[in-house]
Symmetry: C2
Subunit: 734 residues, 2 copies
């Protein structure tokens, strides 16, 4: 069903071509925009899908996780490419702690004996899955060593709400081992919440509902997770701080001061192991206790029960804990005019095993983008600003390469980093651009100017078609989960994560041995057309950011978004107030007791103190300030400024995003300094906007909520003041 | 966890007792209410759970479907009981057409051979499931004979919306055999919709998602449908007319004029067979074609595909088509004062196999209610109005006994039937009272005065606890699915269906060989406490309806409900208008094409003509009239009227529900004459309110919608006029 250019009538090609020219480019004068579009046509013309295919095949041929021989060679190979394209290239090595498994054992002792396989079977249809050599087996990085035996409790996704449900059944996990399914929140939350409640171990399995046969035929017939597939992954406490657990706030240089391992707060506190559903099924089938409520039920052919027991399991884990060199490849193309402003473009190169989709489909796109930009530079063109490409190592264990490098270079980055553009796993589907809404105008123009390789309409057109009623691309803010984290949340650098997704089966092999070249080219990105589209998209971001007369940072979308977030937290408080009142009345009236089925254990919740009225006025005033500043800025803004004005304006534009940091950081996690976005403390990947305020409200910590309202309002006021400070610069026309 | 009276502290018992006394009883003076409550205490005092248990055990011992030897004996046994309790009792026999299977064969020919078992395995843990003798095997009554072979298509629930989804995939069922899962609409819709689209056969299977291991452990470990369990059931076109397909509008007496079978419009047009999921699994696993969309996926451990094929099946069915005597037991207790007003109380006695939960848990409750009322009558008390008990035969094949009896006696019933109270399958849980909202005040008082046997609070209190924020019991209107149908929808008799449900696993064995005494007393109604509660509830309905000074029919709730329905159909039209506009714009803009995944077949829908503005004013005026009448009635209403006024008032109150009939009936189904309620033509069990209007709108038949607005408005105006005609009667005080 995939159409190719050859099969298309000429009229369609022409109409697609007519759609492409961009009427305006933010940050460019009309003449500058025309020159830029011409430059981009030359850029597009030199992109070559054969390169992507060749690199993908080569780099996915061997396991190339952090610390592996192939990982080191990957860094060297990439560095060699960058050098050959004319970039100033270095391999910047940091030395984070990285545990690898020495012993993994999971067995059921009661009511029947069963020993989990803990290995992913090789598939004859994909011979690359056969070689065990050099592979990391399924494990959760930063699980502690441990040897525990206890009855099992099924905790659904293992998130706080799930424990609230278990409490209604009168089920405690104290002294138990929990089994959670993957999904609905970042995996590292699961052992943390289990440990907080007294559990002594945690098993995480891949339910077929989340990424297996519920969604489509399993690999190799289809692309989805087979019965024996397991999901590796880090359980380091990312929402507290990412990167090396031993060196928070500082680069993990060879001679850095390190915490002793037992003091590192981000290492998981209970042994935790990921398993396949083939391994999980006998355990779940052996659980007794109440039938799990509907929202807890996965898609295995059994009746889900909660336990505890009679299933009793023994989990034993031992790891090699060692400092491991992470080899970041850093490649620079100095700017001709504003060399002190860095446009940083990154994608990691390490994979959990072969990593074809994650990260290589994204990485090879970035490489081809860099090659084509290198060609432009060799032909005499120079970017106004400096371009810095980064191929990060050790992303999978917890953003190690990017975080440690950025912490090491924090002072420089604070001065020089203008924007960070990230990509990661990529595949067929719709364009996805998440991040700082100060980049939203740029994102719309970039998506508008990239043609979908299958539909031959612009990526923006497809996005709008799939979001009926949308008038433009609205960026979703970023939580965590890839290398933008340190730039956005710790350093206040406007950041975006870009790619294509949604029509691929990459989740089906995510972090498994089945994420191979064969799988990727059948079920994720056949022909690597979407990797090429990512090269085009990334190229537009990089080239426009690097080459615009003034940075294409704008504030309208951000201002609207923040107003929405303020409205949300106010409405959340009001909703909690009425729900609390209603719930307390129901408890007082005995309604929960009267409504329940007496054959099912039930413990009524305790009444909650009433929800007070909070003073949201600091945020409301800050929004009004911001809105006024943005309107004044828009009225004043003009092009054609002299270089010195443009340099100053860019500094202001960069400062606007920095203004959103607060050095105190968020409560209990000072590393996270951004006041508008953060990964949710209880969601991980998922963003919380106005995180200090929102999480205080969600946790019913009203004093903290009032303090955080003032702290985040101050950040918004700082940004509003910074925006206003740009206005005089527009008066100095050339 | 089930508490017993013995375990309760005295204070709890006293507080429950304090809750019980009814402050008011609609239709009674204060003194009359006190006498009535005393009568009910005597009634309660003679109820005996041992009787329920003994009858349940006896009547579920053998298969007692329509036409079976045990079925006939059941009728005789019940008649004997009624006679022994002092009722004037007859067995009124009608002779509907009833097919039973001679040959059932289902086999897969491609891509592998598989022959479906089509039998429900005996369970050693429940010996009653072992005896095959006299059992009807799983089949759909009123499937035609047929012998068809074709590729298979999976059609989800087989309802119209599902075919719209298939059309988006470009999948037609013309010439194919469809496989649908049970649920989300009455089973008879499935072969009808399949036939309408050119399918040549239909298989209906029980997916574990609907009533199997998704919900709880399968029988015998738990109460839910085991892998080999299948659901028998009628596929006669109930929404066109229920009862004997050969004698619409007339009783199926021995010498009735009959349609030839091939002219009977309600017999299914394609062969149709119900199977277990064990039989369905190989068929579904052998389907190719697109992966089914998420809403189509059941809970079997496979990836659901749509087909068509490669699975190709052969379905062969032959039936014995014969007129079969249906033995209704009719037992009368004549009224002392208003003998011409009949309070009819019914429950069917036939089961598909052993029928312990369906219908016997309900039937034995009605029998015990009747025994206790018989005792009251023998002690000298006489009801004001006549009580008619009916134990219906042939309900399962399609309400045959009740429909044919009521059609035969339609003229008498139109004159004499005051109210019909139905029960059917029953189990643990919350009180459920559906039907004519003119009975809602009565329903609230009855639920208020019955104590939940496990919680020891009133059934109304439990209901309100489970429906937070509700101030009173709001009756849901009735569609179809039990013996109230002819009374309510054809004859305009105010009707209610009463019982307890929701904490039982009756659905897990519904219409299967596993609906046994052992299952019922373990998983549906242990100790038959809820059958006894139903006896108390039914007793209150019957005794209050039969004994009140004036009929406890009131109009406030009905008036409010109809106003809601008018609002709903107006909003529905508005929503369809904006959705149609939006959808047409998306089609015109090519948005559906741009948003789609090109690897998945997709056929865009055609634009729809715009939705016009309808004239709802006749309904709005009718609601205003009704509301005015109800308020005037309430202001005038008083107690203490002389007998002749009460007789006339009762006639008006009865006439008010009759006024809602229109002799023209609903479009294309004139048998259904009620203008406010009907089973949905495309839902079957589920009610459609303002059915003529609502279904015309849903089908975009705007001219018919305008006609039906006027027709239903006229019915409401007739009721409003009837209510007003009662007012002068209140002036004649004693």
């Amino acid at each position: 069903m995939v159409r190719t250019w050859l099969a298309l009538p000429l009229a369609v090609i022409l109409s697609a071509a007519v759609e492409a020219p961009a009427p305006t480019l933010t940050g460019f004068s009309t003449a500058g925009a025309a020159r830029q579009l011409e430059l981009e046509r030359r850029f597009d013309g030199s992109l070559n899908r054969a390169n992507l295919d060749q690199w993908l095949k080569r780099l996915s041929a061997r396991p190339h996780h952090l610390g592996s021989p192939a990982g080191k060679e990957t860094a060297g190979f990439i560095a060699g490419l960058f050098r050959s394209w004319g970039y100033e290239t270095s391999i910047d090595t940091v030395y984070p702690l990285f545990p690898t498994p020495r012993l993994r054992r999971l067995e059921m002792l009661e009511p029947a004996r069963f020993t989990a396989a803990l290995e992913e079977p090789a598939l004859p249809e994909d011979p690359s899955t056969a070689g065990r050599q050099g592979q990391l087996p399924p494990y959760n990085a930063y699980s502690p060593d441990g040897d525990v035996t206890a009855p099992l409790v099924y905790v659904n996704y293992g998130l706080p709400d799930d424990y609230d449900v278990l409490a209604r059944f009168g089920i405690s996990v104290k002294g138990k081992i929990v089994i959670a399914r993957y999904g609905h929140g970042w995996r590292g939350i699961k052992p943390r919440e289990a440990a907080d409640r007294g559990a002594i171990g945690c098993i995480i399995y891949s339910d077929p509902h989340e990424d297996g046969f519920f969604l489509g035929d399993p690999y190799p017939k289809g692309g989805w997770r087979p019965s024996g597939g397991a999901q590796r992954g880090s359980v380091l406490d990312m929402p507290t701080y990412p990167g090396d657990p031993l060196t928070p706030f500082a680069g993990a240089t060879r001679d850095a001061t390190r915490l002793p391992r037992e003091k590192a707060p981000t290492i998981a506190r209970v042994p935790v192991l990921p398993i396949s559903w083939a391994d999980a099924r006998p355990l779940l089938a052996a659980l007794g206790g109440p039938v799990a409520p509907a929202a807890f039920r996965g898609f295995l052919p059994l009746t889900y029960h909660l336990g505890p027991g009679p299933a009793t399991v023994h989990l034993q884990l031992e790891f090699d804990w060692k400092l491991t060199p992470a080899c970041n490849v850093i490649a620079r193309l100095p700017g001709a005019e504003l060399a002190g402003e860095w446009i940083i473009r990154g994608n990691h190169h390490d994979g959990w095993v072969f990593g074809a989709s994650d990260p290589l489909d994204g990485l090879v796109a970035m490489l081809e983008e860099a090659r084509a930009i290198g060609l432009l530079a060799r032909s005499g063109w120079k970017p106004r600003r400096s371009i810095v490409y980064a191929a990060w190592d050790g992303e999978e264990p917890m953003l190690l390469g990017s975080t440690e490098w950025a912490e090491q270079h924090a002072a420089e980055l604070s001065r020089h980093a203008a924007v960070y553009i990230n990509s990661d796993m990529n595949g067929r589907g719709l364009v996805k651009i998440d991040g700082s809404q100060t980049l939203q105008q740029l994102a719309n123009e970039a998506a508008r100017d990239v043609i979908d390789p299958e539909h031959h309409v612009s990526a923006l057109t497809r996005h709008l078609a799939a979001n009926q009623g949308a008038k433009d691309y609205r960026m979703d803010p970023l939580g965590s989960g890839s290398d933008y984290t340190v730039f956005l949340h710790h350093l206040g650098v406007a950041s975006a994560n870009i790619g294509f997704r949604g029509e691929d089966a990459a989740e089906g092999v995510y972090h498994s041995v089945y994420d191979t070249y064969a799988h990727c080219t059948r079920f994720v990105d056949p022909g690597l057309h979407y990797a090429l589209a990512l090269a085009q998209l990334g190229g537009r971001f990089t080239l426009r950011l690097a080459n615009s007369e003034t940075l294409p940072v704008r504030f309208d979308a951000f201002s609207r978004a923040v107003a929405t977030y303020v409205d949300q937290v106010a409405k959340l408080t009001a909703a909690m107030r009425s729900q609390t009142k209603e719930q307390n009345e129901a408890i007082r009236a005995g309604a929960l007791e009267n409504a329940r089925d007496l054959t099912i254990p039930f413990v009524a919740p305790s009444p909650q103190p009433p929800v007070p009225y909070l003073d949201f006025s600091p945020l409301e005033n800050a929004i009004a300030s911001l809105n006024g500043s943005v309107q004044a800025f828009n009225r004043a803004a003009t092009t054609g400024l002299p270089l010195e004005s443009r340099r100053k304006l860019d500094q202001v534009l960069i400062e606007c995003d920095r203004a959103l940091l607060d050095n105190a950081g968020l409560p209990r996690r000072p590393w996270y300094r951004h006041q508008i976005y953060a990964p949710g403390y209880f969601t991980g990947y998922g963003v919380k906007t106005l995180p200090g305020v929102r999480e205080a409200i969600e946790q019913r910590n009203w004093n903290e909520a009032n303090r955080q309202i003032r702290q985040s309002a101050a950040a918004i006021e700082r940004m509003a003041a910074a925006i206003v400070s740009a206005i005089p610069l527009f008066r100095a026309q050339t």
